[in-house]
């Protein structure tokens, strides 16, 4: 065994550790250079924004309490992320803990919304009588601002975890159900026909053709739903929301801690971007055929 592999390995190994770039390198280098330039542009834009912010603060157009400086926001970010003078972060929890609790609520809420919304969308998309009854209900829910039904949820479920999760479910279910229903309806007729010719019955058509064919749009629906849940989490945490990023913001608002509010907003936004990128990656992994024939 060693004899057969021996002549091969040394041939490559003792070579110089490739100080020169491979032949295809210039193109990759150019691509990487382009990517770097775009990243640099983003950084410059961010710097300009921060500079403008700093200028506005320095000009003292508004009182410091209303418009804190970037430095103050940074300070609050550090404060809320550490234990200082025996105080744990902000409102008794670290920023990352607030964020973690909110993300968990979003995860559970949209998770249930997917579990309920996809079958619901399938039924609405495939069964006419169900669509007639439930589709207006879904649209009705979709147009409601979460704060409108929060009070009802508090009356029903109290002020603990359940009203928050319920709010996120109600907020994120309609986009998933609507996207699924629309996708199931627009499954290419030629694929349905091909499946029928192969002997597929109604159930098999629904589960083996309509559902997978709708998967790309369903995942888009999930991404929208996560976005909606994100925008609703502050509303969900209006009452007894600590720990939770929304609760933290409400608390800070009560004491006019503008910088903390801004820290919370930035934390929500940045984690949202990250999560969306994650979902996009998931989409690519789950529906590699998207955009192909």
């Amino acid at each position: 065994m060693t004899l057969t592999t021996a002549p091969k390995k040394p041939a490559a190994a003792p070579e110089k550790p490739a100080p020169t770039t491979p032949r295809t390198a210039p193109r990759f280098a150019a691509l990487r250079w382009a990517a770097l330039r775009w990243a640099a542009l983003r950084l410059v834009a961010l710097a300009v924004l921060l500079g403008a912010w700093q200028l506005v603060v320095a000009a003292e157009l508004w009182p410091r309490v209303l418009v804190p400086s970037p430095g103050e926001v940074w300070h609050q970010f550090v404060q809320s992320s550490t234990v200082h003078d025996g105080v744990r972060g902000q409102s008794g929890h670290l920023l990352i803990e607030h964020l973690g609790v909110s993300l968990r609520r979003i995860g559970i809420g949209t998770g249930y919304a997917v579990l309920a919304g996809v079958p619901l969308g399938l039924l609405i998309g495939a069964v006419r009588p169900i669509a007639v009854v439930l589709e207006p209900a879904v649209t009705f829910l979709r147009t409601l601002p979460p704060l409108a039904y929060l009070s009802l949820l508090v009356i029903w479920f109290g002020i603990d975890e359940s009203p928050k999760v319920w709010l996120l479910i109600i907020a994120s279910l309609p986009p998933i159900a609507a996207a699924t229903a629309a996708a199931v309806r627009t499954v290419p007729e030629h694929l349905i026909e091909a499946a029928r010719a192969l002997g597929a019955g109604p159930l098999s058509l629904l589960l083996s053709v309509r559902l997978p064919s709708a998967l790309p749009e369903i995942l888009t629906g999930v991404r929208i739903a996560v976005g909606v849940a994100y925008t609703s989490v502050v509303a969900a945490e209006t009452i007894n929301g600590v720990p939770g990023i929304g609760g933290m913001i409400r608390d800070a608002q009560r004491y006019n801690q503008t910088a903390v509010v801004i820290v919370g907003i930035i934390a929500i936004g940045l984690s949202g971007i990250l999560l969306d990128a994650l979902l996009k990656g998931l989409e690519r992994a789950l529906v590699p055929w998207r955009g192909r024939k």
Partner: protein
């Protein structure tokens, strides 16, 4: 029992005075085909040839069970045609399921025909080999060329071991070389399996090459499509006949010429 025997002995496909009309009301009503009668005997390779818009696809869809005859009778093995009941269909486009692999597409058909899970992999490999795609089961459908995709579609249609195979211009979108190769493969497949084939094309060349019997359809301007002529193709063919050599024979040229002339004449005929 004697009834069952008559069904088996009867023709594979029987169309009697079939008329297909589209449209919801009298004003938008159009007649695609009118008064078509046709029988396909068991094991016959029949080609339906004619210009586009003459109703040949409509007729095939009636036999497939996708379309219902407005008037007249359509029977496949003695009963009204319905999709997925022993009739394989190959469309002009492969119509593969992109969310399934090549093998997955075939396994789907196998599952619908009650092949147990543990046998599907072996049967899939077998079917892929029959269409010259051995070892491609794990590939994604879009990684294959158009010709290969159409081969998968053929393998998928054959998965249910159909007694009747309907092919609707299956090679129209392929390049000439691929088309020639697939034509020969389909002819051999049909000849060896004894499957009845109804093949739709607009090419006189393809019709003569494949069919043992060619039916010419035509729809002169403003009138519905009908079968206007029938041509028996009695070319000397065995399983190892070289299609190129066959094409070069005077008989082939004569038949193709006859057919082209018939088609041209039919297109200008008054209804």
């Amino acid at each position: 029992m004697p009834q069952a025997e008559t069904v088996v002995a009867g023709p594979e496909v029987l169309l009697e005075d079939v008329t297909v009309r589209y449209g919801r009301n009298a004003r938008s009503l159009t007649t695609a085909v009118e008064g078509v009668s046709l029988t396909l005997a068991d094991g016959e390779f029949t080609v339906l040839v004619g210009p586009s818009g003459c109703g040949k696809t409509t007729l095939l869809r009636v036999v497939a069970g996708f379309e219902r005859a407005t008037e007249g009778t359509a029977l496949v093995r003695g009963s009204a045609p319905a999709p997925g009941t022993g009739t394989g269909v190959v469309f002009q486009q492969p119509r593969l399921f992109p969310w399934r692999t090549v093998g997955g597409n075939i396994a789907f058909a196998l599952a619908r025909h009650g092949v147990p899970r543990e046998q599907r992999a072996a049967r899939t490999a077998e079917l892929l080999e029959r269409v010259g795609l051995a070892g491609k089961a794990a590939r994604r459908t879009w990684e294959l060329s158009g010709g290969q995709q159409q081969r998968v579609a053929i393998a998928r249609a054959l998965a249910g071991e159909p007694r009747l195979l309907l092919m609707d211009e299956p090679f129209a979108a392929l390049d000439a070389l691929t088309r020639e190769r697939l034509q020969e493969e389909v002819r051999t497949l049909a000849a060896t399996s004894g499957t009845t084939v109804l093949f739709v094309t607009h090419s006189a060349e393809e019709a003569v090459l494949l069919g043992t019997r060619v039916l010419v359809m035509a729809a002169p301007p403003g009138s519905p499509g009908r079968i206007v002529s029938e041509l028996a193709v009695d070319l000397p063919r065995t399983s190892d006949t070289d299609p190129a050599a066959l094409r070069a024979t005077p008989d082939f040229a004569r038949l193709r010429g006859e057919l082209t002339a018939t088609m041209r004449e039919a297109a200008t005929l008054d209804a």
